[in-house]
Symmetry: C2
Subunit: 325 residues, 2 copies
């Protein structure tokens, strides 16, 4: 796919990936609606296979390969949810996924990739080393590089979240999606505005990793300099394929503070009983922060993932329960 996807491409991607992904449910909460003053519809990609929306793009990329390409497998050097998603997508199709990870990657992330049958190659913990290793694997094996967001097949796949959401909830005034590299947000904008041109599409971004916000102001891609945010999935910068789509179709980027992200995440745990990772809670954080007018509106919010490390919480529970035995 060499040209920017349109609604029809996202619909085609949806038909392609449907047998391999969940049509995730939409949740609501009366008490959070009261807090927000609007009707919020949570699209639960935390309940997606692999615990995040990433499987949609990865699956679309894998299924878009020619038989010849597929025979040589795929490779990525992303860490995080995309690596696990690509491994899972490749496994679902029965092809090989090479995953390049820095040698200091957390064991829990390696475990997910391994569980999905990904072939792990470690390298030095620099972007240059990662890219070099991925290029070497491409040269050695003929595998296809699948970028986590700056790829039209990925954008089309991620757009299927909003495609489903617009079908599941009629008459949305607004759709809120997190923005990191922009794969989800650009796909969301194409799908949502393609179906309902008057819908507002809002990108939600941590103040501490505000490259998309600054890029739209500057009219060019600007980057984060060592972003430090609890929303660890939102530290990437826009790419040359995602930026133009976002610039054209997204109405606004709303910045949210760290404590607003934690508060939103807590509400989702306590009121909706859903496990959502910090990156997945920025949409609700934006709806509640007071800097976006959601009063009386029907607002779709993409909860992008639920992969949060809760080891400390459960260790403390276990410790507390220990002496009682």
């Amino acid at each position: 796919m060499d040209t920017r996807p349109c609604l029809a491409d996202i619909q085609a991607a949806h038909a392609r990936i449907a047998p391999f992904v969940h049509r995730t449910p939409v949740f609501t909460s009366r008490s959070i609606d009261e807090l927000a003053g609007g009707e919020l519809y949570f699209k639960c990609e935390n309940l997606q296979r692999g615990g995040a929306f990433k499987i949609r793009g990865a699956m679309n990329a894998v299924l878009s390969l020619s038989p010849e390409e597929a025979a040589h497998g795929v490779v990525t050097h992303s860490s995080g949810n995309h690596a696990a998603a690509l491994a899972l997508a490749a496994q679902s199709k029965g092809i090989v996924a090479h995953i390049v990870v820095p040698e200091n990657a957390p064991a829990v992330k390696l475990a997910a990739v391994k569980a999905y049958g990904g072939r792990i190659t470690t390298c030095a913990p620099t972007m240059a080393a990662r890219e070099e290793m991925a290029a070497r694997i491409v040269a050695d094996t003929g595998a296809t590089l699948v970028h986590p967001y700056n790829d039209y097949r990925i954008i089309a796949g991620q757009g299927t979240v909003a495609l489903e959401l617009m079908e599941q909830v009629e008459g949305l005034d607004m759709v809120l999606a997190p923005v990191s590299g922009g794969g989800l947000l650009s796909g969301t904008a194409i799908a949502a505005k393609g179906i309902r041109p008057q819908v507002q599409v809002i990108g939600c971004e941590p103040s501490n990793a505000d490259d998309a916000y600054r890029s739209l102001r500057a009219g060019r891609i600007v980057t984060n300099d060592h972003p430090v945010t609890i929303a660890d999935g939102l530290r990437a910068n826009l790419g040359d394929k995602t930026f133009p789509i976002i610039r054209e179709l997204v109405d606004e980027i709303v910045l949210v503070k760290e404590e607003e992200i934690v508060h939103a995440m807590r509400l989702l745990f306590e009121r909706v009983k859903l496990v959502v990772e910090p990156s997945g809670a920025v949409g609700l954080a934006a709806a509640l922060c007071g800097r976006l007018n959601v009063q009386g509106k029907r607002v779709g919010i993409i909860l992008s993932g639920g992969n949060v490390d809760m080891s400390a919480f459960f260790d403390s529970l276990l410790l507390a329960s220990g002496p009682r035995e």
Copy 2:
């Protein structure tokens, strides 16, 4: 309702309460099925109104009142999920709920009761003081006492969980429910066996609060002596209305250890992305403990509630995110 409920009573209760409660979804997890060696179907009462199944019984009790009785309201001296559920049920019907709580009750529980419009009366933290205060409110106001479990209206209401589950999943071999006072377990047994006589109904109980297990062995109600378990909703003893039903219809009580409860809870958070309280995780703990044969079976598991205090977890997240601002 003066006689033990049968399936038809539970069906009638379901029709009565349906406009006021959620038909909760059933979730599955491939990875947990692999761990268990069977097909597990999670009935998500953590997603119920008020965060637990308790609203079903409370709503049925409130809706079963005569207009004369309803005009005088309801009263309970339970702490925990039943108190909040009765307040919510009374609010839904537009009547008064008097909730007697010990003066040392946690603020978070009082907050839930207040949020649902319950009228709180505090008393000394003894069972005698609670019962005396409730009796005084009955005498003063004419309110109807609604016991948390030893009440046929409550049992019929709680039985609607299994009624829905049996409709949602065909051909279940086994249904697992937590047991505390026995309202949920007795209602589950009547509903499940009424619909499908060959289904096994298993009560799941913490080893540290094993009164139901011991009661079935002894053939009479025996009680816990200061039970200490992380499953704080499962410390009550069986009542004279719940015990005979459980004795007749329940196939087995499986005891689970504290660390098995925490492990099951963690799997539900991490793999299913659901917030489930310790008491709600004992069913999965039983399915995974190796002391119950679920191999190749279709097993319904009632996740009874999701009201877990996660303050410490979110406080630590907030603390970690603070310096980044």
